[in-house]
């Protein structure tokens, strides 16, 4: 069971990381008007923006819940 949880967390984390970076780069980063700041610094600013951290959390939880519902046969409480 622990192995299952670890793999599910890892998979969800990578999906959420990709979503986090994509959001930071294609959305937040394109809005910056900071000509003196390098791309890497811009990415760091984008990644630390609260909205992008929220995107990471939402994607992580969503992926985890979907996998858990499909794989662990979680049934809704009646």
């Amino acid at each position: 069971m622990l192995k299952k949880q670890v793999i599910t967390v890892l998979f969800s984390a990578v999906i959420a990381l990709i979503a986090w970076i994509l959001a930071a780069y294609f959305w937040t980063l394109k809005r910056f008007w900071l000509p003196e700041v390098s791309e890497t610094e811009k990415l760091f600013i984008g990644l630390t923006a609260p909205i992008n951290i929220a995107i990471f959390i939402v994607f992580f939880i969503a992926t985890y819940v979907v996998i858990a519902a499909l794989a662990f046969k979680v049934k809704p409480l009646k």
Binding site: I7, F11, V14, Y25, L29, E39
Partner: protein, 240 residues
């Protein structure tokens, strides 16, 4: 199993991987060539790179007309996907009944073929969706579409292929090395090579010029882990 027999099998496994890689490259460029010949285009240069994916192969041809040019650009990836689907879903499931000696020779090649054709076509689409180059750039420029549309298309095609290729890899490894029978980690193992291949593509000096873009480096590296993680998820979580 004798030590010498094991050495021969491992050597063939490595060699088959390299041969399959070249065959997939020839198929990709062959697709372009076929369209060039069918549309009476003038072929100027054909180059098959033994170092692909570090160094790209190419076909330079003078093809005239919008549809001929579009077909020429699409042909490489389409031919590779077509053969990948045929080998993965039709050839490999039916081939297991043949003579064992012949199977030992053919099966590793077919598994590697499906793996390399997967990377050749879908890897191309994923890379091109973020930063268009080669065929993807030609297609998006001609159709005036955003290259990011190739990403969902690649994901849709990737899911069933990852499942099938992992299964075939597990069966092929079990056939070559019976001691691996029932080991869950064998199936997903092949996808580790996707990470290594991605590293080859994104290191400085490769044909895919990143210009030191750290963001794409990070994104592609993370994405290269997905087939392995998805396959592991399948074996350890969904099928357990």
């Amino acid at each position: 199993m004798q030590f010498s027999e094991r050495v021969i099998k491992v050597t063939w496994l490595i060699l088959a991987g390299f041969i399959a890689k070249i065959v997939v490259e020839i198929l990709h460029e062959g697709g372009h060539l076929l369209v060039a010949f069918l549309t009476n285009g003038y072929v100027e240069e054909v180059y098959i790179s033994p170092l692909w994916p570090y160094e790209s192969s190419h076909v330079i041809a003078n093809v005239k007309g919008f549809y001929a040019k579009l077909l020429f650009a699409v042909a490489g990836i389409t031919v590779v996907i077509f053969f990948c689907l045929i080998v993965t879903f039709i050839v490999m499931p039916k081939i297991r009944g043949i003579d064992r000696k012949f199977l030992v020779a053919v099966y590793p090649f077919l598994v590697w073929f499906s793996f390399w054709s997967f990377l050749n076509a879908l890897g191309y689409m994923v890379l091109g969706s973020f930063k268009p180059f080669g065929d993807i750039k030609a297609i998006t420029t001609m159709l005036k579409i955003n290259s990011i549309y190739f990403l969902p298309l690649a994901i849709i095609l990737a899911v069933p292929l990852i499942v099938r290729i992992s299964d075939e890899n597990a069966k092929m490894m079990e056939m070559l090395f019976p001691s691996l029978t029932g080991k869950k980690w064998v199936g997903p193992l092949i996808w580790i090579f996707a990470v290594l291949v991605t590293l080859l593509v994104i290191i400085p000096g490769s044909s895919y010029n990143f210009n030191g873009n750290f963001v794409f480096f990070l994104l592609l590296l993370l994405m290269s882990f997905l087939p392995f993680l998805f396959s592991t998820l399948l074996y350890y979580v969904f099928r357990d």
